[in-house]
Amino acid sequence: MAQAEIANPGVSRRRDWRPFLSRYATLGALIALILFNLAITNNFASWRTLDVNLTQVASIVIVGVGMTLVIATGGIDLSVGSLMAIAGALAPIIFLGKIYKIPEIHLAVAVAMVVSILVAGAFGWFNGWLITRFRIQPIIATLVLFIAGRGIAQVSTNGNLQPFKLDEFQWIGLGRIFAPGNPTANGFKGIPDQVLVMVVIVALAAWALNRSLFGRQILAIGGNERAARLAGVPVATVKRWVYCISGLCAGVAGLVHIAINSSSDANLVGMGMELDAIAAVAVGGTLLSGGRATVTGTLIGALIIQLVRYTLLANGVPDDAARLVKAALIIGAVWLQRRGKA
């Protein structure tokens, strides 16, 4: 072109420090929290502490990853706790052979896991369908399954507790890899399987968000939905998949939860999980209005919340009071975001 001109490298670029601030603020908070515990809490620097915290945080992080993607599009998913309950109710029905007895136990468990996760994903897709087809606000559309989902779980189990003891299934909540044959002196018991699942999901989602077409389209929709549509981004399709992924993540977390408990109680599985996940996303530095998201931030956010709770409990503060601290953390995170936007 006639007016060709090389981009002028001399144009001064004002460094945009705000995303860095909010990202490293969360990481800094986590490090500060760890240092604080090292100084204050007895026996903090042990494998046991790490084990307890990572085991407890895994399901929140898994759900939080799906939530991060949803929030990145500018939406929200309130149904994740109920979808956990559905997956948690469905899996034992299958592997305990309550409807049809699959003779091979490994096959039964595999079918149970795959089917229950896929069903949760299908319900998530339904959320996305409601939102895109009828232009219902996400908070309302997912409220439908927030309410109905737990009902479905309860009805399908007749409201009964489903206890089980089945190592072939419970590896996902109780199993460990690299477990030493004999108890070691330092208390290392191996890496819990659900932590491994968590790490894989976080890594996959973080990579996809930054490197895949799908991830960039998610952020484009959250950043400016009208512009994204006019640039040919298939907004409805992307959103349906995002809610579907959130459902799949909830399904996985539901299985982890019942495996840990050796039983499935439709009334309790995933109770309040939606709020824990949203809190982790918010503390992690993802913009709640969409367009800017960090999956690793969500991991850090969940770790902060978990560690604060652990710190307070380990130092004799009751769990109820710990909720106040959690609330304060969220306020702090939102405040940081506001500053980032201003």
Binding site: M1, A2, Q3, A4, E5, I6, A7, N8, P9, V11, S12, R13, R14, D16, R211, S212, L213, F214, R216, Q217, L219, A220, G223, N224, R226, A227, A228, R229, L230, A231, G232, V233, P234, G291, R292
Partner: protein, 516 residues
């Protein structure tokens, strides 16, 4: 009729009003005088300063300089509510009412009658009924507002405004959502107001309406008042000319950077016949050929943008036919149009163009991205190559492809958005106000790029409110008026006079024969 008194006693006098937003002047010493019992038209193109003027008057924004005299004394409104209390009411384009509440509640909102600390419903219903009867509207005032037609809702808004014993009523495009009969009812209301001594400031882009109901007119352009006159003393063409600034002698022979007409015009790329869609497009036919710049001229609200959105699949079409490259073309989503080789740069870059938080590179490749991926994974190297190529060829000034696009100037953002479609190898580019909000230097640069694109064989549909751009840049001009394509003018024949005549009357003859 009321013209004789209208010059007599002034009700409102706004003098030397100035206002700047973030250093950019929106108003420079603008004036507005309205007499008692006068219907006063206030007109101007987008950005002329009409709405800023109204916002200052109603206390929505504070003025930087100037004085306002209203009803014999200095006037200062701290908020729209304050202005209303002092006798100036505003009826906005969109209806600012509570759809779920009854008509009575909407009319009496904020000034409820009370008895013993409770609402006096009987009195309020009576007041609402009495008010509406002035407008010849007889409805059940207890029913929720949303159960009634848009017209009735509009009337309720007007009734509410006048119910405050207003001395001046500002109507900002009150007829945009009304049908013909309802417009006539509204005009009766306005005439009745005039008889009872209430003044009206009437903002509209429909010129016929101004002649039907207004006594005087104030024309604004670029933040200044350029003309005030009796309505009957000014012809439609004069109105349009004043709005566009054509009465000023143009010294510069060529005000744009387009150069002459395009030389390599080929076969028809897009053909639209008798399109209609939504409320604003009724019957639009036009075509764009390969290597041709087609200009869409028309006043605000003439349906130019709406037509473009239909062609791009962003809005549904009601009737009419489209062909693209000789085959029928019915895009249901922008994706469909993009797939066929159409690109669209919206008039509102911030709202519909850029993804502000994303980088230059990502904004540039947003549409192309599916083609830059292998199994869903973005090929970063190829993406970077494309981006660097277009940054260089269009001269985008940015520190690096990774710079967030919101940090770029308007002109550079526009170049990135052009590149978004060029990277796609589009055959037809729809540009809605491509140089709006861009400084003069970058403007010329964008215009040169558009010209070069046409020379390279691209079909360009350019919507512009700037007459120079339309007349000098277009190889053919289609003039739209109230949702209809009313004239087709080739480059040589598209004179300012012809285009303005078509915008004003719907015919391209310079109208010496016209009488006001």
């Amino acid at each position: 009729m009321a013209a004789t008194e209208s010059t007599a006693s002034p009700l409102l006098s706004m003098r030397a009003i100035s206002k700047a937003f973030g250093g950019i002047p929106a108003l420079s010493a603008a004036t507005l005088d309205v007499a008692v019992g006068e219907v006063h038209a206030l007109i101007g193109q987008n950005g002329a300063g009409k709405s800023t003027m109204i916002k200052i008057l109603t206390g929505y924004v504070a003025r930087d300089a100037g004085e306002i005299v209203f009803d014999g004394g200095p006037f200062e409104a701290s908020s729209p509510q304050d202005a209303q209390a002092k006798g100036i009411s505003t009826i906005y384009q969109e209806i600012n009412l509570v759809p779920y509440r009854s008509i009575t509640e909407n009319i009496c909102l904020g000034r409820e009658s009370r008895r013993f600390g409770l609402l006096d419903w009987a009195a309020m219903h009576n007041e609402a009924r009495a008010l509406l009867s002035r407008f010849k509207i007889d409805v059940d005032v207890r029913r929720p507002l949303m159960r009634f037609s848009t017209a009735t809702q509009q009337m309720v808004a007007i009734a509410r405004a006048i119910g405050f014993k207003a001395k001046l009523v500002i109507m900002d495009e009150p007829t945009s959502s009304l049908d013909e009969r309802e417009v006539n009812v509204l005009f009766d209301v306005i005439r009745q107001l005039r008889r009872s001594g209430v003044s009206v400031v009437f903002v509209s882009h429909k010129l016929d309406e101004l002649y039907a109901v207004c006594d005087r007119v104030t024309i604004m352009r670029d933040g200044r008042t350029v003309r005030t006159s009796e309505m009957k003393d000014v012809s439609k063409v004069e109105l349009v000319a004043s709005m566009l600034g054509r009465d000023v002698a143009q010294v510069a022979k060529s005000a744009t950077a387009f150069g002459g007409p395009s030389t390599h015009i080929g076969a028809t790329t897009l053909e639209a016949s008798h399109l209609s869609a939504g409320h604003k497009v009724h019957d639009v036919s036009f075509s764009v050929r390969k290597g041709e710049i087609v200009g869409f001229a028309g006043l605000l609200g003439s349906g130019r943008t709406e037509t473009a959105r239909v062609v791009f699949g962003a809005d549904p079409v009601r009737s009419g036919a489209l062909t693209f490259d000789g085959a029928s073309f019915a895009p249901r989503q922008p994706e469909d149009a993009i797939g066929r080789g159409v690109g669209f740069a919206s008039e509102d870059r911030k709202l519909e163009g850029i993804i502000p938080d994303m980088s230059v590179a990502e904004n540039l490749t947003l549409a192309l991205l599916p083609q830059l991926t292998r199994a869903g994974v973005i090929d970063a190297a190829r993406q970077r190559a494309v981006v660097l190529k277009f940054i260089a060829s269009l001269g985008v000034k940015c520190s690096s492809p990774d710079q967030p696009i919101r940090e770029l100037s308007g002109g550079n953002q526009q170049k990135v958005l052009l590149a978004r479609w060029l990277a796609m190898g589009s055959k037809l580019l729809i540009l809605d106000e491509p140089t709006r909000g861009i400084d003069v230097g970058a403007k010329a640069e964008i215009q040169r790029i558009i010209k070069q694109l046409a020379e390279d064989g691209l079909g360009v549909l350019m919507i512009s409110s700037e007459l120079e751009e339309i007349i000098e840049g277009s190889d053919r001009v289609f003039v739209l008026r109230e949702g209809r394509s009313v004239a087709e003018l080739p480059h040589g024949e598209a004179s300012e006079a012809a285009v303005m005549a078509a915008m004003a009357h719907g015919e391209a003859q310079p109208a010496e024969q016209e009488h006001a």
